[in-house]
C-alpha cells in the first residue's frame, strides 16, 4: 500500500494536540475508534444486528447510539445479506457504512453481496462508484462458543479481488487500524480477534507506531512486534500474542525469535516480510485457519520468492487443520498451541540442505 505519505487517521482527525497513552481493552479501543470516526465524519454510519440499543453482543458499539443518534448507529433486521447489500446502496449515496456481522460464521450468508457486489462495484463503475465500506467481523476462535463463532475467513476474503483485509493483534493496533480502515475509500474487511477483546494494553493515541519500526509510524503494512536474529514467526490477530509467548520460551533455549505481525492480510507488506526473513533466514507462519489454501501458503511463497537464496530451511506452516472449527472441548487441540509452534521451529532450526 502506498500510504506512506498519509499520517494516521488519528493524527489527522485530532489535529496536533497530544492525547497520550491509556490502558484499554481491545473492546474499549475499538469503541473509542468508532466514536471518533463517527464524530469526524458525518457520513459514517454504524449498524448491524444488536449494534444499536444493546451496543453489540461484544459491546464494541456500546454507547454510540446514545451519543450519535439512532440515525447513525442502528439495529438492522436479522439478515447479513441485507446488511451488506444495503451498505452498497448507502456507499453509492455517499455514506461510509461501517457494518458489523455479529460473528465470523455469519459473514457467509452475506458472501454474495460482499464478493459479487461490494468487491467489484468500483471496477464495474470504472471508479465512479467507490465502496468505502468497513466491515467489522469478530473473528477467530478461542472462546468455547457455539458453531460458526470461531471461524477464520481471511483467506476467503483475501482471495477476492477488490477487498482489503486487516486484523489487529492488540488494543493499540485495534484503535489505529480501525481508525485508518474506516477512513479508506475502499472496502476493508476488519477482522477482530474476539478472544482478545478483554485483554488490556497500552494505547498510544498519538501515533500508530512511535517507536519507528519499518512501517514508519503508518497504520499500513506489517509490523515487527519483537526483534530477533534466528527465525521469524509470522502471525496476525490472536496468534500474535501466542507467538510472542513462544518467542519468550525460545529465548530460554537461546533462540532469538523475531515476531512479525502481518496486520494487513491484503495487501501483504512484502517488503517488511522479506526484510525480516532476509535477516533471520528462517520463517514459520502461524494461523488458526485450516492449512490447505490458507494464507500461510501465500506468505510462504512470498518469502520463498524474495529470500530463496538465503533461506536455511523451507518455510513451515503451523495452522489449524482441514476440519470444521470444532466445539469448545476440542478447541485447544485445533488452534496452534505453543508446543506445535515449537515443534515447527525446531524442524526449521535443524533442517539440513542437500
Amino acid at each position: 500500500m502506498s500510504n506512506a505519505t498519509l499520517e494516521s487517521g488519528a493524527a489527522m482527525a485530532e489535529g496536533t494536540a497530544r492525547r497520550g497513552v491509556e490502558q484499554l481493552s481491545m473492546q474499549q479501543a475499538l469503541n473509542r475508534a468508532l466514536d471518533e470516526v463517527l464524530a469526524a465524519n458525518p457520513k459514517a454510519l454504524v449498524f448491524g444486528e444488536d449494534c444499536g440499543r444493546l451496543g453489540g453482543v461484544f459491546r464494541i458499539t456500546d454507547g454510540l447510539q446514545a451519543k450519535h443518534g439512532t440515525g447513525r448507529v442502528f439495529d438492522t433486521p436479522l439478515a447479513e445479506s441485507g446488511i451488506l447489500g444495503m451498505s452498497v446502496g448507502l456507499a453509492m449515496a455517499g455514506f461510509h457504512p461501517i457494518p458489523e456481522v455479529q460473528f465470523d460464521g455469519f459473514a457467509y450468508p452475506a458472501v454474495n453481496q460482499i464478493v459479487c457486489q461490494i468487491a467489484r462495484m468500483n471496477y464495474r463503475s470504472r471508479g465512479t462508484m467507490p465502496m468505502p465500506i468497513t466491515l467489522r467481523v469478530p473473528s477467530f476462535g478461542g472462546i468455547r462458543a457455539p458453531e460458526h463463532h470461531g471461524e477464520s475467513l481471511e483467506a476467503l476474503f483475501a482471495h477476492v479481488p477488490g477487498l482489503k483485509v486487516v486484523s489487529p493483534s492488540n488494543p493499540h493496533e485495534a484503535y489505529h487500524l480501525l481508525k485508518y480502515a474506516a477512513t479508506r475509500p475502499d472496502p476493508v474487511i476488519f477482522m477482530e480477534p474476539k478472544s482478545r477483546y478483554w485483554q488490556k494494553g497500552e494505547v498510544d493515541f498519538d501515533s500508530p507506531d512511535p517507536a519507528g519500526s519499518p512501517t514508519g509510524g503508518s497504520p499500513t503494512g506489517a509490523k515487527v512486534m519483537r526483534a530477533g536474529r534466528h527465525l521469524t514467526l509470522v502471525a496476525w490477530g490472536a496468534m500474535v500474542a501466542r507467538c510472542l509467548q513462544v518467542a519468550e520460551l525460545a529465548a530460554e533455549d537461546g533462540i532469538d525469535i523475531e515476531v512479525l505481525d502481518l496486520r494487513w492480510l491484503k495487501p501483504i507488506d512484502e517488503a517488511t516480510l522479506a526484510a525480516s526473513v532476509r535477516k533471520t533466514r528462517r520463517a514459520v507462519v502461524v494461523h488458526e485457519a485450516p492449512l490447505t489454501s490458507g494464507l500461510g501458503a501465500e506468505v510462504a511463497q512470498l518469502i520463498t520468492q524474495a529470500c530463496f537464496d538465503t533461506l536455511k530451511a523451507p518455510v513451515e506452516r503451523i495452522t489449524g487443520f482441514d476440519v470444521p472449527y470444532p466445539s469448545g472441548d476440542l478447541e485447544d487441540e485445533y488452534i496452534p498451541n505453543i508446543d506445535r509452534i515449537l515443534f515447527g521451529i525446531q524442524r526449521v532450526l535443524e533442517y539440513k540442505r542437500g
Partner: protein, 353 residues
C-alpha cells in the same frame, strides 16, 4: 398481543384440509403437562449448571414450553422429520430425544449434539439463524418424490423471518407443494431487537398469504391450542395439500443466552406486561379446573422432572471430551491423504494438550 387465529384472507385456519384429529384425551393432556414440567425444570437447571461452571453456555427457552412441547408432541417419529434451531430443547424432549446427548452441545462437546439425527428424527442443532429451513423443504420434497407420507417441520424465530432463505423456503415449498410445517416461535425478541423493529407489518403469518400458503396465528402459550394446530397442519400437509405456516405467539421470558443481560434493552415491567401468563401455570390451573389432574399428580410430575434432571446432570458431568481423532475422522465419508497426515501430526504433537 393478538393471538386469536388471524382471519387472514383466503389462507386462514378454515382452509386447512385433511382428516381432523381426535381431541386430546385426558391421558394425553396429563402427558403434555408432565413434559412441560420436565422441560421447565431442565431449562432452569441448565442455567444453574452454567453458573456452576458445568457448561459454558446455554440458550434458555423459558416461557416457550407450550409452543415447543405442544408442537413436538404432534410429530410422528416413525415418519416425520424435524429441523430445530439452537433453542428447541423442549421439542427434543417432547420427541423423546436422549437429553444428555442433546445437552452435550451446550457442554461444548460436539456442535450438533451427540444424538443420532436419523434415529431421533431431529436434525443436528443448528447455529445459523434460518439455516435449516430450506433443508426441510428438500427433505419434504423427497417425500413427495418417494411417494412417502412424512412431513417435515422446521422451526425458526421472529428474527430468522428476516433472512432471505426463509422466504425462498416458503416459496419453494408452496411452488412444489412440499409437505412442510413452518413453525415460527414469535417470542417477541431476537436478542435485543423486539418484533416491532424486526417484522414489518407485525406478523410472520401474514407472509404466508403472499406464498399462497395457509397460516395459523395461534396463542403459543396455550399448549393444547399449539398441539391441535400442529396436528391439523400435519394432517393438511400429509394429505398432499402443501405447506402450512404456524406462528405461535409466545415470549422469551429469560435472557437470549446465559451471558445476555436483558436489562440493557428491556425493563422488568415491560417483561411482566408483555409476557402474559406463565404457560405452565396456566395449563396447571386449566387441568385442575377441568378435573383432569390434581395436586398429587402435579407433585408427582415435578418429582419425576427433578429425578430426570438429576440423571441428565449426572450424564453431562460424566461426559468427557470427544477423542480428538474425531475432528479428522468425521470430516468426510472418504478421508483424504492430507487429513490423514494432519491427524498423524496432531497425534504426535498435541494429543490432549
Amino acid at each position: 398481543m393478538d393471538t386469536s387465529p388471524s382471519p387472514l384472507n383466503g389462507n386462514d385456519a378454515g382452509h386447512l384440509s385433511g382428516p381432523h384429529a381426535e381431541p386430546l384425551t385426558a391421558e394425553q393432556l396429563r402427558e403434555l403437562y408432565s413434559l412441560m414440567v420436565a422441560v421447565r425444570h431442565l431449562d432452569t437447571s441448565a442455567i444453574a449448571w452454567q453458573r456452576q461452571g458445568l457448561i459454558p453456555g446455554y440458550a434458555p427457552e423459558l416461557g416457550q414450553e407450550a409452543a415447543q412441547v405442544g408442537s413436538g408432541y404432534a410429530v410422528d417419529t416413525t415418519r416425520d422429520f424435524v429441523f430445530p434451531t439452537y433453542r428447541e430443547m423442549g421439542v427434543a424432549r417432547a420427541m423423546g430425544v436422549d437429553m444428555v446427548a442433546y445437552m452435550s452441545t451446550h457442554k461444548a462437546t460436539w456442535h450438533g449434539g451427540l444424538y443420532n439425527p436419523i434415529e431421533s428424527r431431529l436434525a443436528p442443532i443448528q447455529a445459523v439463524v434460518g439455516g435449516s429451513v430450506l433443508h426441510a423443504v428438500g427433505w419434504a420434497h423427497g417425500q413427495t418424490l418417494d411417494q412417502a407420507d412424512g412431513v417435515a417441520m422446521t422451526y425458526f424465530g421472529d428474527g430468522a423471518s428476516s433472512q432471505g432463505d426463509i422466504h425462498e423456503a416458503m416459496n419453494f415449498a408452496a411452488v412444489m407443494k412440499a409437505p412442510v410445517v413452518f413453525f415460527v416461535q414469535n417470542n417477541g425478541w431476537a436478542i435485543s431487537v423486539p418484533t416491532e423493529r424486526q417484522v414489518a407489518g407485525g406478523s410472520v403469518a401474514a407472509r404466508a398469504a403472499g406464498y399462497g400458503m395457509p397460516a395459523l396465528r395461534i396463542d403459543g402459550n396455550d399448549v393444547v391450542a399449539v398441539a391441535e394446530a400442529t396436528r391439523r397442519a400435519f394432517a393438511h400437509a400429509r394429505a398432499g395439500n402443501g405447506p402450512v405456516l404456524i406462528e405461535a405467539m409466545t415470549y422469551r421470558r429469560g435472557p437470549h443466552s446465559t451471558s445476555d443481560d436483558p436489562g440493557r434493552y428491556r425493563s422488568l415491567n415491560e417483561e411482566r406486561d408483555d409476557a402474559g401468563e406463565d404457560p405452565l401455570e396456566r395449563f396447571r390451573k386449566q387441568l385442575l379446573a377441568d378435573g383432569i389432574a390434581d395436586d398429587a399428580f402435579f407433585a408427582e410430575a415435578l418429582a419425576a422432572a427433578k429425578a430426570e434432571e438429576d440423571d441428565i446432570r449426572a450424564g453431562i458431568q460424566a461426559l468427557g471430551s470427544r477423542p480428538g481423532t474425531e475432528m479428522f475422522d468425521l470430516v468426510f465419508q472418504e478421508t483424504t491423504p492430507a487429513l490423514q497426515a494432519q491427524a498423524a501430526s496432531w497425534r504426535e504433537e498435541s494429543e490432549h494438550v
